[in-house]
């Protein structure tokens, strides 16, 4: 269903999205906030990639950078955003707009504010099909169908309702329906369940998974919650303070978390897969100041395993398994066994 108009094939083998070396800053009175530094990841066709990390580590900035919807004070300073073979950073606003809402769509974190309060659901859903060349009746029929698919009862008559007539969970279903209605090649979901309660979270995650299978699109799923990611995603990218610290297939990351930050996330999330906890994972210590990110390893101030090279050298991404990489000196192949005085920098 998705990709009826065959897009130019990506150079990378079957990736819808290739982010490479992406860096971006926000201007602020204190100086430039280096919110993302050298971020690389790829979203293979038809897969769901999860991006996890604490609040403030740059997940939303990444999502907005891909959409071209960064805040006015945000600026991409380096890198490439290859989407279906085209670098989004080189497109002008008109070309970007042609991609947004056709090949690329997004679900926002807070469903209570994401829908325009003075437009009816039916209007919102036909508005976004304005380039489809369909008749108004056809657009409404598709909207109804998609609302039914996401589980809105009595969908046809609900087209006349306004967003405030729906609960938060229902609104997020509507947002998902809108995002999928345009048959995107890639759906970006920025913490779509964070504003909802735990049972709703499970429902929405299942809904997303089923619809993704049916429609065959790719999903970049942003979350600060490992359990949700485990349930939904094929691959995981772990971010910390604006950098990717670990990435790989979901079972690799969950069976062999290799970066101390990932391990700390797990330690703070004992319910892991089944129990959906509402609490943010809390790891002792704070995110480093992104105006002047520390040299060496970005996680060193909070790392229980910090050792000698961590202060001086930025760890490259070492292989940690099949398609699994982690940016930590502990994985260095030339590290002599037992050289790390564990716990030195830890609290």
């Amino acid at each position: 269903m998705a990709g009826a108009a065959s897009p130019p094939e990506s150079a990378a083998e079957g990736s819808v999205l290739e982010v490479s070396g992406l860096s971006l800053d926000f201007g602020s009175p204190r100086g430039r906030i280096h919110a993302l530094r050298n971020v690389s990841l790829s979203v293979p066709r038809g897969r769901i990639v999860g991006v996890v990390g604490e609040s403030g580590c740059g997940k939303s900035s990444l999502a907005y950078a891909i959409m071209g919807l960064l805040a006015a004070n945000g600026e991409v300073t380096d890198g490439r955003l290859l989407f279906e073979g085209r670098d989004l950073l080189k497109l002008d606003q008109r070309e970007l707009r042609a991609i947004r809402g056709q090949r690329l769509s997004m679900v926002f974190q807070d469903p209570m504010t994401a829908l325009n309060p003075v437009r009816r659901i039916g209007e919102l859903m036909t508005d976004i099909q304005y380039r489809s060349g369909r008749s108004p009746a056809e657009m409404r029929r598709r909207a109804t169908e998609m609302l039914e698919r996401v589980g809105i009862p009595d969908a046809e008559s609900r087209l006349a309702a306004y967003p405030h007539h729906f609960s938060g969970g229902m609104r997020q279903r509507i947002c998902i329906a809108m995002a999928l209605l345009v048959e995107p090649a890639l759906l970006i979901a920025d913490e779509p369940t964070t504003a909802l309660d735990a049972t709703l979270e499970v429902q929405i995650v299942h809904l997303l998974k089923n619809l993704q299978r049916e429609l065959g699109c790719s999903v970049l799923f942003v979350s600060h919650h490992l359990g949700t990611v485990a349930e939904l995603c094929d691959d995981v990218v772990v971010m910390y303070a604006g950098e990717v610290v670990e990435s790989g297939p979901v079972r690799e990351i969950f069976h062999r978390p290799s970066h101390p930050y990932t391990q700390a996330l797990f330690a703070c999330d004992p319910g892991r897969i089944k129990q959906a906890t509402r609490n943010l994972p809390t790891i002792p210590g704070e995110l480093p100041d992104l105006v002047e990110p520390p040299s060496g390893c970005i996680f060193k101030d909070r790392c229980p395993e910090r050792f000698e090279p961590c202060d001086r050298l930025k760890p490259p991404a070492y292989a940690a398994g099949e398609g699994h990489r982690a940016a930590c000196h502990l994985l260095s192949p030339c590290r002599p066994l037992g050289s790390g005085p564990a716990g030195e920098g830890a609290r």
């Binding site: 947004r100 809402g101 829908l115 325009n116 309060p117 976004i128």
Partner: protein, 312 residues
């Protein structure tokens, strides 16, 4: 809905009663006896007393007010002290002039101020934004009567482009006579509206639903006019409803300075001669106007905003 209108009606009646009573009380505090004024300084005390009884001025204040409202309920606004004509007829005769002035002033101010505010918000920090901001503040800080005097001096007296006084006769002539007064009454509102629309537009454009509309590739035009403006305009509509009270006072200045007929000119003259029935009639009409304006602005808000509509 009906509860809403019921509540509005009660509120309206309260506002009218309180405003009219207060203003009438203030008028009585001003020294000067209408009987003396009308009958002249040489009238005999008996004559004056008889006149006072005829006007009800011998009664205590609260009885006077009660009588006024009681007659009002029966559709009688009183009679003019001097001519004996019905106050209703006199006020209604003048009302169209004031209504036209206010309506034209507000319309041109909105027609200019709202787009200016929109474009200042969209092209933030552009030359247009800066010039609009500067002019708005300057114009807002000039009192309406100063503006009226200068406009009169420059365009009517000095340049002789436009007529200075009167309301004119016939459509075109009336229109020509309306330009200067409507300009002075409306000009500070252009600034007000531009500022308020700009501020609320900027706020709305920063909301998530606008980002979402952009994420779906809607055109900027659609987003600004279809998604943001209906929300950004709401505070302006409310402001306009309340602002009619200020517009009436600006209209009073304009009518006096440009020697135009109207409720404003009438009220000034009536206060001057302590013509209580006329003053009461004018105050009643302008208060009713104010109540009506807030009602209309509520209804327009309800028309634009489904949430407000449903809470009616």
């Amino acid at each position: 809905m009906w509860i809403y209108f019921g509540r509005r009606l009660i509120l309206a009646i309260l506002v009218v009663v309180i405003a009219v009573t207060l203003l009438n009380a203030m008028l009585h505090l001003v020294p000067g006896d209408p009987a003396v004024m009308i009958l002249g300084p040489r009238a005999t005390p008996e004559l004056i007393e008889a006149f006072r009884v005829r006007m009800g001025l011998d009664q205590p204040f609260h009885v006077q007010m009660a009588t006024f409202f009681w007659r009002l309920l029966q559709g009688d606004m009183g009679t003019d002290v001097f001519t004996g004509r019905s106050v209703a007829a006199i006020v209604l005769e003048q009302l169209p002039f004031t209504l036209t002035l206010i309506a034209v002033s507000i319309l041109w101010a909105a027609a200019l101020g709202i787009p200016l505010g929109c474009f200042s918000a969209i092209r933030r920090n552009s030359l247009l934004d800066k010039v609009t901001g500067l002019l708005s503040v300057s114009v807002i800080s000039i009192p309406a009567f100063v503006m009226a005097l200068y406009a009169l001096l420059i365009f009517a007296v000095e340049l002789k482009w436009l007529p200075a006084i009167g309301a004119g006769e016939g459509f075109l002539d009336s229109l020509e006579h309306l330009i200067l007064p409507a300009f002075t009454v409306g000009v500070s509102w252009v600034g007000y509206m531009a500022r308020i629309v700009r501020a609320s537009m900027l706020e709305v454009l920063g909301e998530t639903h606008v980002r979402m509309a952009r994420a779906f590739g809607l055109t900027e035009r659609r987003i600004v006019f279809g998604y943001a403006l209906p929300i950004a305009i709401l505070p302006t509509v409310t402001l306009l409803g309340v602002g009619v009270a200020y517009l009436v006072s600006a209209a009073v200045f304009a009518e006096v300075i440009f020697a135009r007929p109207g409720v404003g000119a009438l009220i000034v003259e009536a206060v001057d001669s302590r013509n209580y029935p006329i003053v009461l009639g004018c105050v009643l009409v302008t208060t009713a106007l104010f109540v009506l304006a807030t009602l209309v602005s509520d209804l327009v808000n309800a028309l634009l905003d489904p949430r407000a509509r449903e809470s009616l």
